[in-house]
Symmetry: D2
Subunit: 397 residues, 4 copies
């Protein structure tokens, strides 16, 4: 960490709800802990409600505001557009930004449909020819324990992967009295638990194993089909009114999968697992070792080394807070754990590092498209009596 | 526990391998801790190898031996036949015993095919008209933590069940060099992980929820298709020789399911989860509460009470060793945990109690048939591109 | 496990309450799982109440009864006297039995005072000259995870021991309304939590480390000084009546200690740790590794190997159910855990094996005396403003 | 979080090592998540090495620098002095700042001796008469799970406290080859594990129980008495050179304690618990409930409610990430855990809130003095054969 001057990276952020706050914290914090090759500037924040927007910009630390996101794309003083709006807006925003020569960081899921994701990927590839980069925001890859899991697999410590089991369990709408929101409406959110949290475990398991899902058999379920309308709307649109409204997305998605290397997988994403708040659980069994991760204990990775003699073999509880561990050296001494938001900070670090090096940051839009195709295959299988459905791999590298 | 004299229950045991040893310990131990209405006598042990049989009878405490199981069925001094042989022999033995007027306890899975299980169930129902009883041995129901789970669901503490996730993870053949055995041969074992351990989690989840599985979507996998032949044979048949032999059963089974009450389920049974020795994991999420059990911590049940205020809500780690808990009062003071074999002892207790009361012990052969139909549907779905396959409910009450 | 005939070992058991039941189960069970060099016979059970005694003998499987324990000591058909009565009777019974040429297994704590323990140890050493053996029953040494802990230390996997922390936490009298019992009376029990459960953690930490405690600084506490008298008496004496009676032993004992090798130790024994039923927790930190055990998860030993690189170092959760682990091969396949009572069975195995080999079983009465001296030093320190108090090592080998 | 303009709070920070970085992150972050009544400004950073200081100021976000801390105290544009230097400098700096009318936040332990702490407390009380406030930085109080623990005790959920057991386990100098640093030198650090981490568990247990320690019996130990000198010095002084230097502080401290309400306590602070990186473990047993916390799982509090029926009683694993929990509503949705540094942010929030309200922030210097007196009693007891040593309560409210 030297004091050498860094060129600026001027950021325009679209959206300031949960994800907007997380991204803001990341842009603010990354340069204080990591020696970034570019100096992020929180240039402009966009949203539709001028009053709420001004408050958000002040609270989150942004230098200016725009009530029309197109203005952000057009502004000369913006180098990168960071998209934190609902999924139905991603394609239009990202394509416009890329065409305007801005780098793009787009929250997951990449889009609400494969068609949109394909268009975005095409735009990203066209832009890349001019050095303009696009990245999709699967931040859980940057939890140190997850990054260590990836490393152990890549190092061969698991051998041939045989089983993957992944669950993303929440309970925030387990109560039928929880109100309708944009996240429960297909036209805004694309899908429910599937796209919101199922996308994460598809990406995480593909990232950790270094393989992709080749087919699925799925069931989707909406346990509560009508919910009370909320009194007022949320950020950037939503629903409001009196009486009941229809839930048009899935509450839960369960599916079987197969990975390129032959591993069997089970996936479950639900918002109805009472008592589980944000439990992302990933287990991988290989011929040489096994891994287990649970975001409820996010600074820990469990690792079973099959080479260990039986007398002393057992899952090791690795507290992933050592300087040897990914991202950790920049933070605190051993044993002083990180939190949820640090994944976003690491995302900024990796993105900025790639941009400065003129390299493609990962996960790319093509990676996001591939996840979208898995989600699409899940929906098609679920609609066709769970029949095994292969994943289209066209255009995915 | 009084010293009043009890009528005898004279037992003939078929098989003396792993299950035979476990059943023997149960028959010996139950009367020392529970005030049984009948006094079990370890009358006769059957097996084909006279030398090994004599040694086993001495070690396990049986009063006499027979090298032909049919003699056990015929003997006047036998009231109950306990079947601990491989699955391909269950139907013939059980039907013969029932027809001879002997009560039957038959190890799971009930049979190697639905047709056999149907014939056994018919025989059991015919016998029941004469007061002769048949029971299938799903002993994990009798782990106190599992019995408590069932009680909490029955008491309404979970509300409407929405999710069931069940895994039975072992790793004893994860090594491709592990030898072929009868458990890996379809004609002996019927199926692999599916029938051996998958049957347990089907039964356990149905027992805990009080519901049955109505349909499945499944994938089966055999990771290692050829294995070295063992030098010598095991008990009651098996394989032997030089070179390699073919594995004709599944190594792993994964399937989605739906329960009668609408709950979504995921099931996984595998012998390739490196580092997991006998991890039976069951989680149930309902509208009012959630449960989690893991046999690796068998004296514990985790329970989330949705009625608890958010400030203090959390999964409780109930150490199921209190006198209030099922079966526990007969054993040790609070906190002094039980082991694997105690489930078999409780099975003897429940069976003997039902016999003395002239009632049907549970799980009945019809219950075992219903599990068999789920396994059969799993195999048919897996053979038909994972297409959703309904479970036949004919003759199941 | 052959069927070769074994010479008998005829056992007389004194007492049939909690410990008597546990010892009975061990004597009955051991020969069915282990190939013992002697064949235990449950010859005679002694107690004072003839009616209760007859019922107990029937329930526990003993061949005859005596209402006077001296008759057991005198009987020609008794080879070994197993003492499961309260501590105030141990010295008289054990010395009489040894003088009569009977082997002795005596429950812990060895005695209620150092003087008694010294007399018993002297009697044991005199008897040993004639091949008559005495052993004290610290059964927790025989939990496989504890025996593995001992082995890892002996193998040097921990290096130089620096820290020992041991807790034995119960809560059965946390409620002030819990009635008075013989365990709360000094003249019967000698001490309270200190001798009853503190003795176990002193023995366990000495066993695991292979070192002895050289000095202590202690505090004792009686939180509830008066308790309701129970309506009727317990086995082999006790208190009864109306109104309140005085608690004359400690409810809790906390002490610091130093081991021969220089390690620092903390000890805590209490019956007031609400929610902890039988939590025996032992942690040992050495220069090369660390260990952690908790009886609430009795089939698990946690081990940290300091030689592991930082990237993958972590406490391993060793599920101590592998055939490589102490005592385990005689029982079930990997992953099928044992329970509380198995420690007693292993105690019988080790005792019978030593007797047949003409060797001194461990722990010896001298070992029990050494623990008694630690307890005595705790009481003296607590009575002297917690001043550091050295342990007398006279006569301890 | 409104956009109303807030008066500034201009901060001068002394020291920029580990603690300086943590405090800087807190000052930067707090206003983005909490609606603070004052607007912190990172006005000036002080350190002795101008080059390193400039780099640190850039990295940590401070507006100016001073190589003489006295200049910070004198500057008119500083409202609060934040002291993050070694303990030997605290008294002089804090007293000077208070006398200059600056509020003071001083890292723990308050001082290296009781005498210094008394002088600081006197200065703080004098300053308070003029509305100038002083606070000592025991940040672990602000971990949400710890704050919840305090609330549950204050709400009476534990009843009468009977046991406290507290451990702070690290291993960063378990290796004898780890170099000497200022933290291992008495003249800089005052004491070793005792003051560095033992101080935290004294404060935490007093905070959670709402009681103070009245006496102790203690042992101190230095396992490794000579260590290699480091090649270069650390921030704000230290040791350097060739060869070996003497460790003049304790490596570990163990002590028994008694709380005002009668509870028994055990304390252990060590830097030699191999495999434990920053394990702060606190357990409290009361007559109505029990609590357990471990910083290795910092977003979790375990709570046993003694009012729960035995059938469903058990320690609840409360994931302390609900909006109902202390500090949490300002951050992320349920289940998205916080990290180590968030405690410092909460400290800023509580401090700024108290300053704006004209109230005394807690813990006060008097609270820090009380902890210092406990540490002093520990040292005196350890030097006097562990004899019970009462804590002086003079001047502590």
């Amino acid at each position: 960490m030297t004091s050498a001057p860094r060129p600026p990276l001027r950021v325009g952020l679209l959206g300031y709800a949960f994800m907007g706050a997380a991204h803001s914290q990341a842009w603010r914090t990354a340069p204080h802990f990591f020696d970034l090759p570019l100096r992020p500037e929180l240039t402009v924040l966009a949203g539709r409600d001028a009053t709420a927007l001004a408050a958000a910009a002040g609270r989150l630390g942004w230098g200016s505001t725009e009530t029309d996101w197109r203005r952000v794309v057009e502004r000369d003083d913006v180098d990168l557009v960071d998209i934190c709006t609902p999924g139905d807006t991603h394609a239009e925003m990202a394509i416009a930004a890329l065409e305007a020569g801005k780098h793009v960081l787009c929250e997951k899921p990449l889009a609400n449909s494969v068609a949109e994701a394909e268009a975005m990927t095409a735009a990203a590839e066209k832009a890349a020819a001019h050095g303009v980069r696009a990245m999709v925001g699967f931040t859980y890859r940057r939890v140190p324990a997850v990054a260590l899991a990836r490393k152990l697999v890549a190092d061969g410590r698991l051998g041939q992967i045989r089983h993957v089991r992944a669950q993303y369990l929440q309970d925030w709408i387990a109560d039928p009295a929880a109100p309708l929101s944009w996240r429960l409406q297909k036209e805004k959110a694309g899908s429910g638990a599937l796209g919101d949290i199922g996308a994460h475990i598809v990406d995480l398991t593909q990232f950790i194993t270094g393989q992709t899902v080749t087919g699925v058999s799925a069931v989707l379920e909406t346990f509560v089909r009508k919910r009370p309308l909320p009194a007022s709307t949320g950020t950037l649109g939503g629903v409001a009114g009196e009486g009941m409204g229809e839930v048009t997305v899935d509450d839960a998605a369960v599916f079987l999968g197969r990975f390129t290397g032959g591993a069997l997988a089970t996936f479950e994403a639900t918002r109805f697992a009472l008592g589980r708040k944000n439990a992302i659980r990933i287990e991988v069994n290989g011929s040489a070792g096994s891994l287990a991760f649970d975001f409820e204990d996010m600074n820990v990775l469990k690792f079973f080394d099959g080479a260990e003699p039986g007398e002393t073999a057992g899952f090791r509880r690795i507290v992933v807070t050592e300087p040897e561990h990914p991202y950790v050296a920049a933070w605190w001494p051993a044993g002083h754990g990180l939190g949820y938001e640090h994944g976003f900070t690491h995302q900024v670090v990796d993105l900025v590092t790639a941009l400065a090096a003129g390299e493609q940051p990962t996960p790319s839009f093509a990676d996001g498209l591939q996840v979208q195709r898995v989600l699409d295959a899940v929906e098609r299988s679920a609609a066709d009596r769970s029949t095994w459905t292969d994943i289209d791999t066209e255009g995915v590298h």
